[in-house]
């Protein structure tokens, strides 16, 4: 089974998100970078499938040259190939451009399965996997929390829970699936895996030759939402706070 996993380099955010002076990007001077938890799970799922069915996992990212760091992290987990579609420094690509760029890579080899995270944790566009599937002319399921591939490898069942109901989609392979955190518990990279990833070759393709820019939602500026300036009312300490707590519960109307 040949599997392609799409990942995105995003800032690691901790206590707060700060913006650059031009308000067009997250200030990353003091932050590291990672991939979304959904995508970590996509890589893990791909590695598990290849462990069972054979084949190989390739990871692809659209991003700056620094995204090689994230591709190598994925290789440390078991991916054997990596492709970087390289953007210019500071260039932000919208979901249409991203899907087109990923399509150029996904269509270049016979992948049985293309996995993505349900949404990138930074831009949260919720559409790249579906657009990619349409460009490839393949079926797609999104937000998936469990994948079961048929023993003969001809199809898979993908399921998720929505409004208390489990929805199961059956897709013939080849297909595209976007997954969510919770589908598995990703492993930690092994030392040999990390060493191998350090030396591994990464194929680099410039974005310009991969896809032409297309009109998309045009970002004007970013801002941090106004947090209501409220001071928590301290109801008390320990069990002594219970009477006050009960009266607040009554005021809110939940008793």
């Amino acid at each position: 089974m040949e599997i392609l996993v799409c990942v995105k380099r995003v800032p690691t955010v901790g206590g707060a998100i700060a913006l650059t002076a031009d308000q067009r990007a997250v200030d990353t001077k003091s932050s590291g970078f990672t991939i979304s938890p959904h995508e970590e799970c996509a890589v893990e799922e791909a590695v598990r499938l290849v462990e069972r069915f054979g084949g190989s996992v390739t990871v692809v990212s659209l991003g700056p040259v620094e995204a090689e760091e994230q591709l190598r992290s994925c290789m440390a987990l078991g991916a054997s190939g990596a492709v970087l579609v390289e953007t210019a420094p500071g260039e932000e690509t919208g979901p249409l451009t991203t899907a087109a760029a990923l399509h150029s890579v996904a269509a270049s080899a016979a992948y049985d399965l293309v996995l993505l995270g349900n949404e990138a944790s930074d831009t949260g566009d919720y559409q790249v996997g579906i657009r990619l599937a349409h460009l490839l002319g393949r079926p797609v399921a999104t937000g998936i929390k469990a994948i079961t591939v048929a023993d003969d490898g001809s199809s898979l069942a993908a399921s998720r829970t929505y409004r208390g109901v489990t929805e199961t989609f059956t897709l013939p392979l080849p297909c595209v699936v976007t997954v969510k955190e919770g589908i598995n518990l990703p492993r930690y990279p092994s030392l040999p895996g990390r060493l191998r990833a350090k030396r591994a070759a990464i194929t680099r393709i410039p974005l310009s030759s991969a896809a032409a820019p297309v009109p998309d939602v045009r970002m004007v500026r970013l801002r941090v939402p106004d947090a209501p300036k409220k001071q928590a009312t301290v109801l008390g300490r320990g069990a002594d706070a219970v009477p006050a707590l009960v009266s607040v519960l009554a005021d809110i109307g939940v008793l």
Partner: protein, 365 residues
Amino acid sequence: MAVFCLVELDGAEVADASLRALTLARGLAVAGADGGSAGAGGAPADGPACPAGLAAVAFDALPATAAASLAAYGAGDVYVVSGILGYAPQAQARALAGLLASATDASVAGVAVPGDSVLGGSVPAGSGHAIVAAGTDHGNEVLAHLGAITGLPMAANCLAASAGDEGTVDLVRQRWAGLLLEEAVLDAPAVLLTVSTDAVAAEPAASPGAAAVHEIAAAVTEADLAVHAVETSAGTGGASLATARVVVGGGRGVGSADGFAPLEELAALLGGVVGVSRVVTSEGWRPHSMQVGQTGTKITPDLYLACGISGAIQHFAGCAGAKHIIAINTDPSAPMMTRADYAVVGDLHEVIPALLKTLHDRTPG
């Protein structure tokens, strides 16, 4: 401007997320009418009027109570689309593409046109119409399919949308699950957007009228129907995390899988459910389906009682929609304690049993 709003049902009622979407969609429809930028409408006098205003779109069937809600939220027309059994996202998108095409070409107004008439991004330029859905798993999925089918851009999880200059739409949308907002311009022949499920309030129309219900058949292909959901009960029972009125949250401070028993008892007593932070699912104390946060579930309860949760920023992304937050934590400087409405400084293992005892004593039997 005609604005079509995809409506989801929760039992026999319109889902809360869809009421929020209808509220934003109504504002967009009214703004489009006021601005006189109705787009490519035919002259109303000669031939079928180009639809304008807010239309709701539901699939399969529409209970009477739901139809009444749609009218109350300002929908002048309701399209009930038949021909798609169960949930098939690409087929729903194809049907919406047909509605968009029929709204644009008055000669086919009110009838479903073959879906492939809008294939390849051939929605006529300047139709100026909009299709809106709730920013749920279903809503985002269907609109992404619609974007892919039509070649149109799609803006996910918007808080606001208004007619801008030169036929564009100015919008504000969530990034980082709402921890960051993006102000953006959408310049496209038709507007596709979904509405944040936790940052837009649902408000009925000030002066609602009656809604005309139109039954239409979807024109979809076999391929559109190929990927469809087979539904089985998830067996969780009770209220779901996303829609619960009360959520009792547990974090690292709970300490173990067994430590959740008092929280579950309290949640049951308050008619709510238990939610957890990411560390709890990473530790394997509770399944990921109970996780509140950016990569878990977004909740909008009347009360979120956060016990032993320090409050990572990704967790706030999931609970910012709560009307009231009470935090219980041994550390008074934890982010959850400073951002809550009410705080109890103390060990949840002491406070929760004491609270349970008081509540049980209040209600004899």
